[in-house]
């Protein structure tokens, strides 16, 4: 599969961490720091008040936040991040209605090789505009994206916005001849995961993770639907789409896979309503070292879980 290239040297996202509210502060609740043990140790001692640091800013402003320059910014762990070679980060708040459940932070390392995109799109005057994004070496694609907007229903961001559901797009560059496709193809971007980021109020945000062959964000993606409109009151989730470097297509129109709450790592995200990050555990799907499961709420209920594996 296009997203399934196994000769990866380094992944696009170096560190994934979860911060959850504890009283009036955000405290660390797991993560995958890979080889960045020192950054992990320092992060474990850290906590953030509302408005403090990157996670606190996402909490205060109730929106996903992209930070591409740590030096001189509100980022609190700049020294440790620099030592680990981390240069950029995206904080994604997880809200159940108006209650913050967690903040998921993705940290990336910049170099001339790694290509991918983590984008935050926000609604403005009836269109989705790029709020900000991190693109690694895909500078031309970054420029194109900055000069692109999406009406409802168009492209990955517009499709996610209109359907209010996560979506997985294939062949971003080759078969997909949309506005940014040419540039996406040149950047080697293949698979795109888009998801709504619900926040209090009526503001619409869409997060997209665009994965490239050489430096993928993930090699396996899963979209699980947990809405009562789809699965009733069973508390289960059904796999509506997915693709894997090892197994190929994961979806099955006639007999879709189901999981219950607390069943596996996706079930953990479903049951707890919190993001789950695992690293180096046998419970992760065979062939993968790390996985992230992110719950997406509609109102105060988990509507979907998206999971990605490396």
């Amino acid at each position: 599969m296009d997203a399934a290239v196994l000769d990866t040297t380094r992944t696009f996202v170096e560190v994934t961490e979860i911060w959850i509210p504890d009283g009036d502060r955000l405290v660390q609740a797991g993560g995958n720091y890979g080889s960045h043990g020192e950054f992990e140790a320092i992060s474990g001692m850290e906590s953030f008040a509302k408005g403090e640091g990157l996670p606190g800013k996402a909490w205060l402003e109730e929106r996903p936040v992209v930070l591409k320059e740590f030096d001189g910014s509100y980022f609190k762990r700049t020294e440790a991040a620099r030592a680990a070679g981390l240069t950029s980060a995206v904080a994604i708040p997880v809200f159940a209605d108006t209650t913050l459940k967690a903040v998921l932070v993705l940290l990336c390392a910049d170099d001339d090789v790694r290509t991918g995109a983590i984008e935050v799109w926000a609604e403005k005057d009836g269109l989705l505009m790029l709020e900000d994004g991190y693109y690694g070496a895909a500078k031309h694609f970054e420029w194109v994206s900055q000069h692109t907007h999406f009406p409802r229903g168009q492209g990955l961001p517009g499709g996610v916005w209109a359907a209010n559901t996560p979506m997985l797009m294939r062949d971003l560059g080759s078969g997909y001849k949309f506005i940014r496709a040419d540039s996406a193809g040149r950047a080697g971007l293949t698979t795109g995961l888009g998801m709504p980021v619900p926040v209090p109020g009526n503001r619409a945000y869409v997060l997209t993770l665009l994965s490239a062959r050489g430096t993928p964000i993930a090699r396996r993606f899963e979209l699980w639907d947990a809405r009562t409109a789809k699965v009733g009151t069973s508390g289960q989730a059904v796999l509506i789409d997915g693709i894997c470097a090892h197994e190929g297509p994961l979806w099955n129109e006639d007999n879709p896979r189901r999981i219950g709450a607390w069943q596996g790592l996706v079930g953990k995200a479903l049951g707890s309503g919190l993001p789950a990050v695992e690293h180096g555990r046998p419970s992760i799907v065979h062939g993968y070292d790390t996985m992230v499961a992110l719950p997406i709420y509609q109102g105060d209920a988990v509507a979907h879980v998206v999971a990605w594996y490396c």
Binding site: M167, V231, G232, E253
Partner: protein
């Protein structure tokens, strides 16, 4: 080993091969022809490939390895030119292949509307991967526009896919609502709304006249002369079985290749057919489930079995991400009962169709979790009488305690938002009730603003009041419009405006109607309210009108009709009278009579003659007199100061002016006017809905009279000095009545209900308001003053006037 040749590598034959190899992998030496240069792939997943949500590689069902492993000789990309049944060979472009058994699996071909321009480059159908790739290619042009003809499953999936690809997409659909074969109007409304939210423009009731363009497609022209620009036109209006090879081979073919329930052709025991190309007792098959059943039956029978294919009820899903719909069984049967559940906030609609305590059909939109369970109940014919009360809530609620809405409200936390419009939470409402001693809904509205805007939370607020006050709360008794809703006429009118509801389907969904399509009480009322409130946007639904308004004449006790042409102010001429006389003679009209409103009524006209009668009257300058309408009927006048010694003003002139200004307007009930030239009141203005008594100093305006089942003299509205003022006041009063009265409520009842002084306050004491009423009436007349007779003469609604079949008297007896 026997030789099996299969023509067509679609989903049916693919499944056939799987079953065959599973049952006996060595039974046949298989040759598989396919006109497409590829093997079997999952065609029903082409839509996600089009949208970019799947890749072609993911939907390949059988790859080269699979065919090789099973020793299938693949003749892909090769057309079969002939079946020679005598020699038992299939002739392909690259040579012939002998067979012992032959399976025709040629599928179906898309139906092409026979309109000009259908062969232009850029016009595509939607059947296979090549079509899909052609659409993907076309979507690559920035800003490109696509028109999809056909709002069925395939057309809508194509539209959604092209929209995701970045195209500007319009859907043109012949019927009144989308997917009419699978959905009812209510679900069709929600689907249309969802697609429009994706930026797809949907045009129902639209018929394609031509495809425009010289060298390639440039647009689509509709029958009503509307034109759409298009760089791509997708024709998705249906399919028909591909039978050409079978016909040429002399096999029996009806609409498709005729088969037995054992999948055998009728006149050759060694030739079978499977899939979309077959016709079983007049039935065709376009969905995948019966194709798979057929494949299983055929596999068994090819191996000497005696399996029988039995068609079953089908369920439908639409593959557009984020749209949840499910339809199964029959929902148009007669003598049916229905259970309907709507949740406007969640955009959910569920309808179960019952007959004899059995579920025979289900339509769901927005919540399809129980679709498979309902489908099982349909297929199994289960008796649902024991769970009837809770059936609509789904499987999880069977055998449990019935839902208690009060308990749900009681369980809400204090900060739970009750009124979304004004941001009022439960705690604030409860506090206001207890601290301020509020006992009525209006009091709560006044103090908290809850339920004061769109009113959608009124039920919740009332439940909170009931919870807080107990027996001390007695909700105001509201007479519902009908059994389809708990809302009264006034609430419905208010909510139509507050929520900007602009179609009957929208009203029923957003106000949570309890039936799927309303009834004879609510539909005409809703139609009127929508005509009144959105004159420029709402398309009058004639099927929601009573028979007289549908045919623009009054039905009589013997089934004939009466026709009353308009005579402005009751004034006529020798030319008009001659024309009427000619019509009477020409159509043998048995009775001609003067009416109480100073018009001439022709009675005893056959329905099928109506358009011809109107055509002749139209040539003489007559328009409809609307003697059948909930609208302005007549303006009766006396001769006024032109002729009468006592006349004070030109009453005839004012009457004509009023009638010419106001004709055509729809009102809640009929409206009759009169203008008398002096207080002697020869035009009987003081028992009309609106009357004018002319006096030396001006015009005395009256209203709210009645002279029918009830007799009531008018009330005086005011006195004005000039004709212009009289016109403004009368028009404003009529518009106020149009906007505020309940359907079928005459002016005298409406005015009594709201208070005569309230009418005077709004019309006489508030000039700005009066002017606004007047302006809105004038605006609405731009769309109302169309003579319905001349429209019908030119062919509109001609189905209404087709003669019934003539049954010989003896046969009828």
């Amino acid at each position: 080993m026997q030789k099996l040749v299969i023509i067509g590598a679609g989903m049916a034959s693919g499944r056939l091969l799987e079953h065959l190899f599973e049952l006996d992998p060595d039974a046949f030496d298989v040759t598989l022809f396919n006109a497409e240069p590829r093997g079997n792939y999952n065609r029903i997943m082409l839509s996600p490939v089009l949208s970019g949500e799947k890749s072609y590689e993911e939907i390949i069902t059988h790859d080269e390895d699979w065919y090789a492993r099973n020793n299938v000789a693949c003749r892909f990309g090769e057309h079969v030119t002939k079946i020679d049944r005598e020699r038992k060979v299939v002739v392909g472009e690259n040579g012939e292949v002998p067979y012992d058994k032959l399976v025709i699996a040629t599928g179906s071909a898309p139906f092409i509307i026979p309109v000009e321009g259908r062969n232009l480059p850029g016009v595509v159908t939607y059947r296979d991967l090549d079509d899909t790739n052609a659409m993907i290619e076309a979507s690559g042009k920035p800003g490109a526009k696509a028109v999809v003809i056909g709002g069925g499953l395939l057309g809508l999936e194509a539209a959604a896919g092209l929209r995701l690809r970045g195209m500007d997409v319009s859907v043109i659909h012949l019927s009144g609502h989308l997917m009419e074969r699978q959905l009812d109007e209510a679900a069709g409304y929600l689907l249309k709304r969802d697609l429009e939210r994706r930026g797809i423009k949907v045009h129902c009731n639209s018929s394609t006249a031509a495809i425009l363009g010289d060298d390639r497609v440039e647009g689509v022209l509709l029958e009503d002369d509307t034109a759409f620009q298009a760089d791509l036109v997708v024709m998705a209006v249906g399919i028909r079985p591909e039978t050409r090879l079978a016909v040429d081979a002399g096999l029996e073919v009806a609409r498709g290749v005729s088969i037995t329930p054992q999948m055998q052709t009728l006149n050759d025991p060694d030739v079978y057919a499977v899939g979309e190309c077959v016709d079983l007792d007049g039935m065709l098959f376009g969905l995948v489930a019966p194709l798979y059943d057929q494949a299983k039956v055929l596999a068994e029978n090819l191996l000497g079995g005696e399996a029988t294919f039995v068609p079953k009820d089908l369920a439908t899903k639409l593959k557009v991400t984020g749209i949840d719909l499910y339809s199964a069984g029959d929902f148009s049967a007669e003598d049916r009962e229905e259970i309907v559940l709507r949740d406007a906030a969640a955009a959910v609609y569920k309808r179960l169709v019952l007959k004899d305590n059995r579920l025979i059909g289900a339509v769901m939109y927005g919540d399809t979790a129980d679709g498979a369970w309902f489908f099982d109940l349909v297929k199994n014919g289960a008796d649902i009488s024991e769970m009837r009360e809770t059936l609509i809530f789904g499987q999880a609620y069977q055998g449990g305690t019935p839902l208690d809405p009060m308990a749900a409200v009681a369980a809400l936390p204090d900060d739970a938002e009750i009124c979304g419009c004004n941001g009022v939470c439960k705690g604030k409402i409860v506090n206001a009730i207890t601290e301020k001693g509020l006992t009525g809904l209006d009091d709560v509205r006044a103090h908290t603003k809850a339920s004061a805007s769109c009113g959608a939370c009124t039920g919740l607020v009332e439940q909170l009041m009931s919870l807080t006050l107990g027996d001390a709360f007695s909700p105001a008794a509201v007479q519902p419009m009908c059994g389809c809703t708990d809302l009264g006429h006034d609430d419905v009118r208010r909510l139509i405006l507050a929520k900007e509801l602009k179609s009957i389907d929208a009203v029923m969904q957003e106000l949570e109607w309890k039936t799927s399509c309303g009834c004879a009480k609510c539909r005409p009322a809703l139609n009127y309210y929508l005509v009144c409130d959105w004159p420029d946007e709402y398309a009058d639904d004639y099927q929601s009108r009573f028979i007289n308004e549908r045919v623009h004449a009054n039905v009589q006790k013997d089934g004939t009709y009466s026709v009353v042409p308009r005579m402005w102010g009751g004034v006529t001429s020798s030319k008009e009278l001659r024309a009427i006389a000619d019509v009477v003679d020409k159509f043998n009209i048995p009775t001609v009579k003067c009416t109480g409103g100073q018009r001439i009524d022709m009675l005893g006209i056959r329905k099928e003659d109506l358009p011809a009668v109107w055509a002749d009257l139209g040539e003489a300058g007559f328009v409809s007199g609307h003697a059948y309408a909930k609208g302005l009927r007549t303006v009766k006048t006396c001769v006024g100061n032109d002729w009468c010694r006592f006349g004070t003003q030109d009453s005839t002139g004012l009457g004509i002016r009023l009638e010419k200004f106001m004709w055509g307007s729809w009102t809640p009930a009929k409206v009759k006017l009169a203008v008398s030239g002096c207080p002697r009141n020869c035009a009987e203005a003081t028992c009309k809905d609106v009357g004018v008594i002319c006096v030396d100093s001006g015009f005395e305006i009256h209203f709210a009279g009645a002279a029918g089942l009830e007799i009531k003299g008018t009330e005086v509205l005011c006195q004005v000095r000039t004709e212009d003022e009289a016109l403004e006041y009368i028009v404003a009063l009529t518009q106020m009545y149009r906007e505020q009265a309940r359907y079928l409520e005459r002016i005298y009842k409406w005015a009594k209900r709201i208070g005569y002084d309230e009418v005077r306050r709004q019309i006489v004491d508030d000039p700005e308001r009066r002017r606004h009423f007047f302006d809105r009436f004038v605006f609405s007349q731009k769309f109302a003053q169309v003579d319905p007779w001349s429209e019908r003469v030119s062919g509109k609604d001609k189905h209404e006037f087709r003669p019934m079949a003539i049954v010989p008297k003896e046969a009828a007896e």
